[in-house]
């Protein structure tokens, strides 16, 4: 089954392969019987599945779109500014932090950061191979950040979200530094350069926090992100 959604002037929305699913009991489908006419086992099964699911499909799609946007934005900044340009390194990390912050403020659901991380790692691993060794450090960073957010008041507390992202950034950068040691262990002096790169990246990520908050103010003003 294929699904398309498009509107005049909208970005071309892609075809997404949809699992071969039975239609949900819905008033939108005239041929489908109303839920009261379904057999009890079918009705309870469908309702249980729908109720037990922690993530709504809309939220999962948002996580996927933001993960794609993060990759494309990083690629765009690197292509425009050059990969090893310090300003580019800062901007790449700034963009990541801003996007992560917007995502957390938009969804406001525990586990969002962890899922976002997991999806990013999975795609990096499948498409790029290199993400394989980053997997443990990213997951640890994601779990620690989720823990900090919960400790500081949960996803409803803005300060907790900012602290969680800051913590995620520093832990992930520490993990990246460890992985870079694996890469250059024959010539450990090269770690000085990777250390500088990681430090510049973290400065960019820190700068992304106030920029992200400013950006969120605009998005709230536009009615895209709600209080």
């Amino acid at each position: 089954m294929k699904m398309t959604a498009s509107a005049p002037g909208a970005p071309h929305l892609p075809v997404l392969e949809v699992p071969d699913a039975p239609a949900p009991p819905s008033a939108l489908s005239p041929s489908a019987p109303p839920p009261s006419e379904l057999s009890p086992s079918v009705r309870s099964g469908a309702l249980r599945r729908a109720g037990a699911r922690y993530w709504a499909v809309r939220e999962l799609v948002t996580v996927g779109v933001f993960a794609a946007l993060t990759k494309v934005s990083s690629l765009l900044v690197a292509l425009v500014g050059g990969g090893m340009n310090p300003l580019t390194l800062m901007l790449k990390n700034l963009v990541f932090t801003v996007l992560a912050l917007v995502l957390l403020f938009k969804l406001r659901k525990p586990g969002t950061l962890l899922l976002f991380t997991l999806v990013n790692v999975l795609v990096s691993m499948l498409l790029m191979g290199g993400g394989f060794f980053l997997l443990p450090s990213m997951l640890v960073a994601g779990l620690a950040a989720e823990g900090i957010i919960l400790l500081l008041g949960g996803y409803r507390n803005e300060l907790a979200l900012v602290a969680g992202i800051a913590c995620y950034d520093i832990l992930f950068k520490a993990g990246s530094f460890g992985v870079s040691w694996l890469f250059v262990r024959e010539q450990p002096e090269l770690l000085w350069f990777t250390g500088v790169v990681v430090a510049i990246g973290y400065l960019g990520a820190l700068a992304g926090l106030p920029v992200g908050l400013r950006f969120l103010r605009e998005l709230r003003h536009a009615g895209i992100v709600h209080e």
């Binding site: 949900p24 494309v72 500014g81 090269l190």
Partner: protein, 266 residues
């Protein structure tokens, strides 16, 4: 219809898929992913320049079957330039701090050999695998629903966003902005505003619309994901995987002969 044809034509990196089919295009996406993962593990474990040289030669042959000579040449020229910069900087460091361990060009070469091998296998995967093949592969991995949907959306959306980036940059050209590295250096905030903000707004709108469409289609009500068609590995896929394993085993053999003391993992 338009999106569907785009789905068939574009690769996971957003580039146009090469027409026809060399060996690389006929390999299953799972085979290329497995080779990519095997390569990433092998380059981390091995440290002997001869072993890595063998893998580099093999990976170069593998990537050359793509037929994208210019892109490969550009990537390897970039790696060579990075090696030259690293060599120059290391030389300066040794002049400044003579107590540092002596500079050994062969040892300095090893990280760049690793990088070149990974570039070869990743380029082969990314430039020859169509988005639809990637999505089918993801489905066959039987991931949990909450991981499968965002991953599939991400894989599917990367080419769409690359197309959006092209549109945004064309709009900027029309408005008289010339976005290049110099512009980015001189006006970083304005560059971000011009390039980044339209993309975020498009992404947010697309996420909302696609999410609503997915819910209306009843996505998520199935007990389990069922692939549209079952994809089996062909004989050439098994041959490619066996060849990759044999090469990695030969690399491990060379590393064993050289000993693990020269920076290997063990």
């Amino acid at each position: 219809m338009r999106a569907s044809s785009m789905n068939d034509r574009w690769t996971a990196t957003g580039g146009a898929s090469a027409p026809g089919g060399g060996l690389m295009h006929r390999l299953d996406a799972r085979t290329k992913m497995a080779i990519s993962l095997l390569g990433s593990v092998a380059v981390m474990v091995l440290a002997d320049p001869v072993a890595l040289g063998l893998l580099l030669a093999a990976s170069l042959g593998y990537a050359l079957t793509l037929g994208r000579w210019r892109m490969l040449l550009a990537c390897h020229a970039g790696i060579a330039a990075m090696l030259c910069v690293a060599f120059g900087l290391m030389h300066v460091m040794h002049l400044a701090v003579p107590r540092m361990s002596p500079l050994e060009p062969v040892r300095l070469l090893v990280p760049f050999l690793r990088l070149a091998i990974m570039v070869n296998v990743v380029l082969a995967l990314a430039l020859s695998t169509r988005v639809q093949a990637m999505l089918s592969t993801l489905k066959s991995l039987r991931l949990p629903f909450c991981v499968y949907i965002p991953t599939a959306v991400m894989v599917r959306f990367v080419p769409s966003f690359v197309a959006d980036v092209r549109q945004v940059s064309e709009t900027l050209k029309t408005r008289g902005y010339r976005v290049n590295p110099l512009f980015l250096l001189r006006h970083p905030l304005l560059s971000m505003r011009l390039l980044f903000v339209p993309l975020v707004f498009r992404a947010l709108r697309a996420a909302d619309e696609l999410g609503i469409a997915a819910e209306l289609k009843g996505l998520g009500y199935a007990d389990r994901l069922r692939p549209c068609r079952t994809v089996h590995l062909a004989r050439r896929d098994w041959a490619a995987m066996v060849a990759a394993l044999v090469l990695v085993a030969a690399g491990v053999g060379l590393q064993l002969r050289a000993g693990w003391g020269g920076g290997g993992m063990f």
